[in-house]
Amino acid sequence: MSVAISSVELRTPADPMLPRPAVIQAIKPETYGVATFSLAFTDPAEAAAFRFQPGQFNMIYLPGFGEVAISLSSDPGKPQVMGHTIRYAGGVTRALGRLKVGNTVGVRGPFGNAWPVERALGKSLVIVAGGIGLAALRPVILSILRQRDAYGRVLLLYGARTPADLLYRDEIGYWREGGVEVHVTVDLADEHWKGQVGVVPQLFYRIRVDHKQTTVMTCGPEIMMRFAIYEALARRVPKESVFVSLERNMKCAVGFCGHCQLGPMFICKQGPVLNFAAVEPFFGKEDF
């Protein structure tokens, strides 16, 4: 008779639900209620091994408060420092807003798939961002700037509610110098604003798009993305060349919790970046 073994013990260290400690190295206020947190894993080996691609996200954990999925918004060429531009919107992000440099948070990641920056090599790019959506696209811009010559025209169409809500204002000048054509609009101007007023999709009226060789990447409120896609498709950009980044409730980021489903897709696995041709049947479907 075999020896009785009445219980078994978990020896697998690879629990994808366990966060790892990371230190807040810097907090840069961006706009009212938005700041960029620079995080680094406490364990130097872990920090050195971390890599991410533009569009991927981390789960940031605060003991006792919970966990949030936040896009990496920093330069993928410098992955040891994980930049996260965070809007203080819910319980966890507001608690994050009370932390200071030197405090520790938990981090798991990176999760999700990436913007097709490789696929777009040699082609032109129209990046369409609304509000905090620019945070998920900033790594794309920074990646392109590292090898600007490898791409055709690169346009950024960006908008926010008011001039005070525009992110990365101190960087946009560098992006322009680096060869990114930047068009900015606000929904509501103030007396100092000299730029465009109107919603982001209207910026398409100001540009010419070579539909045969343009990739469109968009992130922002779903209603903005929907109309940005209309404008792109109206200019005969094929659906297969349009990419969106979607946001859903996420608890696990590894396809177990079921929260982030959109039809057949788990946004945490097949997304957050999705090809519009794949997502179209479910995109903008009311309450789906």
């Binding site: 008779m1 075999s2 020896v3 009785a4 073994i5 009445s6 219980s7 078994v8 013990e9 978990l10 697998t12 690879a14 629990d15 994808p16 639900m17 366990l18 400690p21 003991p63 006792g64 408060f65 919970g66 966990e67 809007r87 919107a89 819910g90 520790t104 938990g106 946001e247 859903r248 409730n249 608890k251 696990c252 590894v254 396809g255 177990f256 919790c257 079921g258 929260h259 489903q261 039809g263 057949p264 788990f266 696995k269 049947p281 479907k285 009311e286 309450d287 789906f288």
Partner: protein
């Protein structure tokens, strides 16, 4: 022959076992270190719990099930497995409703993490019905089949012993025949499978471990006559299945009818109570709960079952993606019968009928699908 101490039936063999030998079988499982879990009677329902002794099984009980109705009643026979499925499924053991993921405490300004000493019992699942075996195979795909593996599920799953039972009767809410999950257990999914005859069991040996558990029982090789009687028992159960779910036009039917008026109609009946997702043997959605002490120096993270019927399930800043009962019922049904196929290569439904029986207002998903099919656009 067969009853000598050394001789054990070979893999794939069929034997007959006196009913009294089930006690020996359970003792053998215990002696090997297994904790037997099986059906038992509690609070007027057949539920799963630890079986301390073979008498804990609801011998001589059966049940009556209708949409929204469940009643147990005593019979005049002494069948060990003469009842249908209760509200519990085996996911309660393989994928626990509450699971502590880790705890943290603050020490010298640093958070120190402790993972629970994940020591879990080795479960012997007693009386697993064929549809529930399929459900376990489906959850295997969810938790073990992808890029990430759930170590908690793997730990519990890898060490189970499965004593399956072929069905000898069908409830009015059963429709396993539509999903090809029953009433006979598929080979390769069990260690042992019983078919219950009035005076004995016919047992098929599915694994070496299964054979080993027949040690010291009074098993005999099954005769062709006994095998024939066992087959008749299963055929009778198959004939009793009345409910049907056509699956040939899924997932398209549901994807093409996301705006069907039936979703509005079912939303007037559905209470969004989440009962169906709790009793479903494949539903796997979970959330996490964080709790901390009042001083903020210790905190805990727990994974708990969640349901797409709960309003906060789809919460993002600014609101809920699925604010209405209509949108939540549609999510559940399209996931179960359509997008599940895209995600995991199998339907999320095994035809067990629990969601029909345990729906407080008796919503029957097979009727909902029929209604949608009845009036498809064009």
């Amino acid at each position: 022959m067969g009853t000598t101490a050394q001789s054990l039936p070979r893999l794939g063999a069929s034997v007959v076992l006196p009913k009294a030998s089930l006690a020996t079988l359970l003792e053998n499982l215990r002696a090997t270190g297994f904790t037997p879990i099986g059906p038992t009677l509690r609070d007027g329902a057949v539920v799963l719990d630890e079986l301390a002794k073979v008498e804990d099984l609801p011998v001589g009980w059966t049940d009556e099930q209708q949409p929204g109705q469940y009643r147990v009643k005593q019979t005049r026979d002494s069948q060990y497995f003469g009842y249908g499925l209760g509200p519990h499924s085996w996911k309660c053991y393989l994928y626990p409703p509450r699971l502590k993921l880790f705890s943290l405490h603050r020490s010298d300004g640093q958070w120190v993490m402790q993972t629970p000493g994940a020591v879990v019992p080795r479960y012997a699942l007693i009386g697993v019905r064929p549809c529930d075996l399929s459900a376990i195979a489906i959850q295997d795909r969810v938790f073990l089949g992808g890029e990430f593996r759930d170590p908690h599920y793997a730990l519990r799953r890898e060490h189970i012993f499965v004593l399956a039972v072929n069905c000898s009767q069908a409830s009015s809410t059963c429709f396993c025949t539509s999903l090809k999950t029953g009433p006979r257990a598929a080979p390769g999914t069990y260690d042992l499978v019983l078919t219950e005859l009035p005076e004995k069991f016919v047992v098929e040996i599915g694994s070496e471990a299964g054979s080993e558990m027949l040690r010291d029982t009074n098993w005999e090789p099954a005769t062709a006559f006994e095998l024939g009687r066992a087959a008749q028992v299963i055929e009778r159960a198959e004939r009793q299945v009345e409910k049907e779910l056509r699956t040939d036009d899924l997932p398209r039917l549901l994807y093409d009818n996301l705006e069907h008026p039936r979703w509005d109609e079912v939303a007037t009946r559905c209470l969004s109570c989440a009962n169906c997702t709790l009793v479903c043997p494949t539903c796997f959605c979970s959330t996490v709960e964080d709790s901390s002490n009042l001083k903020g120096t210790a905190s805990e993270r727990t994974r708990v079952w969640d349901s797409c019927f709960i309003q906060a399930f789809s919460h993002v800043h600014g609101g809920n993606i699925r604010p209405s009962t209509r949108s939540r019922y549609r999510q559940w049904l399209t996931h179960k019968l359509a997008s599940w196929i895209d995600q995991f290569g199998t339907s999320g439904c095994v035809g067990c009928g629990r969601c029909i029986t345990w729906c407080p207002v008796g919503i029957d998903l097979t009727e909902e699908v029929k209604a949608i099919r009845g009036k498809v656009a064009s």
